[in-house]
Amino acid sequence: MTQTLPENLLLKPNRPVGIIGYGAYVPRYRLPAIEVARVWHGGARGGLPIKEKAVAGLDEDVITMSIEAARNALARAGIHAHALRAVWVGSESHPYAVKPSGTLVAEAIGAGPDIQAGDWEFACKAGTEALVAAMGLVGSGMGRYALAIGMDTAQGRPGDALEYTAASGGAAYILGPAEEGLAQIEFSYSYVSDTPDFWRRAHARYPEHGQRFTGEPAYFKHITEAGSRLMRAAGTTAADYAYAVFHQPNTKFPQRAALLLGFSEEQIAPGLLSPVIGNTYAGAAMIGLSATLDVAKPGDRILVVSFGSGAGSDAFQILVGEAIEERRNKAMRTQDYIARRTEIDYATYARLRGKITLK
C-alpha cells in the first residue's frame, strides 16, 4: 500500500477550477447533548459525542438554508446569479421526495432559467458529490459558473445515538475559472463501495444504522482510502497541507481520521465544527471547509475528505489564493452564525423538528 498511485487517478479538470465564492449557514437554535441524555437516560452515561448541535427553526428547511448560504456565496463571488449554469443541492433531507430543491433555490437567488438544477443524494456526501460535478461542468468549459450546495436538516430517531448529533446547516460554493477564484480546487478523488452502514428507506422518517459497523469498515475505511490515495497520487504528505477537513459525524471520528492520515489537531481545528454544531450530514464537510477558508491565508493548501454512507468519500486538494483576504469579508462568516446561539430544551427541539404529532 505504499506504492505511488498514477496521477491519472485524480479528477483534474482540463481548465483550472476555482472557488469564486462560498457561504455558510447555521440556524440559531442549539440543543445541548446533555439535554438528549437527560430525556433518554436521566443524564450523561459517560462521554457525550458533542457539546451541542444546531437545530433549524420551525420555518427552516434545506431549501431556505440553501438560499441563505447561496446568497452569501454570491456576495463573495461578486457575480450576478444569472451567470450561473448549475444550481445543485446535495442533501438527505430535501423537503420534497419529488420536486427539485434546486429550482426553488435558483429562483430565490435570482438565477436565470439556463441552468442544471437536479438534486443530489449520497447520504452525507451529497454536497461534495455536487461539488465534483460542478468541477466537471466548469473544468470542461461547458459552463463558466456552477453553484454546489451541501445542506441538511439531519434526521435522528428520538432516543437513538444519532439524535445527539443529527444537526442542521451547511455551505454553498460557486465554482468558476481558477483565475477568478479565491482558491483553486487542484483536483479531487473519490473512493466508493457498496457498504451498507446507514440508510433510510423511501417513506421512512428516520434512518437506520449499523452502530459500530459505521466505524471501521465504513467511515474510516473510505475516508482514509480517499485521503491517502489522493495524497499518494499527488505526491503529498500531511505536512504539505495547512489545514484538513474531514466529515464529522461527532467529535472523535474526524480526530481519529486526522491521526490515521498523519494530520495534527491544529490542522483540523478551524474546520472541526461538530462539537458545537453537530453533524450536519451533507453539510458537514462543506461547512468545515467554509470555516477553514474563513481563516486560511493565501498559499495555504487544504485537504477536504467527505464521507457518505452507503458508502464513499470525496477528497479535494484546495490551494488558497490572494483573493481570499478581500472576499471573505463580503458575507457572514461561519463563526458569525455559530456565535448566534439560542439554547433550547428537548421539548422545544421536539416541536421545532416536527417530532410532536399534531394530527
Binding site: 430565490a108 458575507a331 448566534r340
Partner: protein, 135 residues
C-alpha cells in the same frame, strides 16, 4: 390547492421583487398596476435590498387556519430602506424580542403548507434581526 396563485407570486415572495416606476422612479412593493406615487403604469421589476426597520409589530397568539402550528409568531410592518412598507413575519427572534426601529433583514423562509402535509410548501420573505458579523 392554490398552486397557480403561489406560483405567480414566487418572485415577490422569494426575493422581494417589486417594481420601480419608469415615470417617477419611485420604488414599489408590493407590485401594483398603477404607481402609488405618480399614477403612471408601473411594470419594471426591481429587487429590494431586504434591509429595513420595524415600524410596528404584533405577537400573534390566535392564528388563522394554516398558521396554527407556528404560534406564537410575530408579524411586523417593516419599513424598507428604499421606502415602501411591507407586512411580514419576523423570525429568529431572541430573548431581546422586538423594538420599534430595530434593524431587520429579509430571509426566505417556509411560510406554511397549502392544505395538509401532502400540499405544496409555500416559501416567502420574512425578516430577522440583523446578525452581527462581517458583511
Amino acid at each position: 390547492m392554490e398552486v397557480p396563485r403561489h406560483w405567480r407570486l414566487k418572485q415577490q415572495r422569494y426575493a422581494l421583487v417589486g417594481e420601480v416606476c419608469p415615470h417617477c422612479e419611485g420604488k414599489i412593493f408590493p407590485p401594483r398596476d398603477v404607481c402609488p406615487h405618480c399614477g403612471g403604469e408601473a411594470k419594471t421589476p426591481y429587487t429590494f435590498s431586504g434591509k429595513g426597520t420595524v415600524y410596528s409589530y404584533t405577537i400573534m397568539h390566535d392564528a388563522p387556519a394554516g398558521y396554527d402550528e407556528n404560534v406564537p409568531y410575530t408579524v411586523a410592518l417593516v419599513k424598507l430602506e428604499e421606502g415602501p412598507m411591507v407586512t411580514a413575519q419576523l423570525t429568529d427572534l431572541d430573548e431581546q424580542g422586538v423594538q420599534i426601529g430595530m434593524p431587520v433583514e429579509m430571509v426566505t423562509r417556509r411560510i406554511r403548507q397549502d392544505g395538509d402535509e401532502r400540499g405544496l410548501l409555500v416559501y416567502g420573505y420574512k425578516f430577522r434581526p440583523m446578525i452581527a458579523g462581517a458583511r
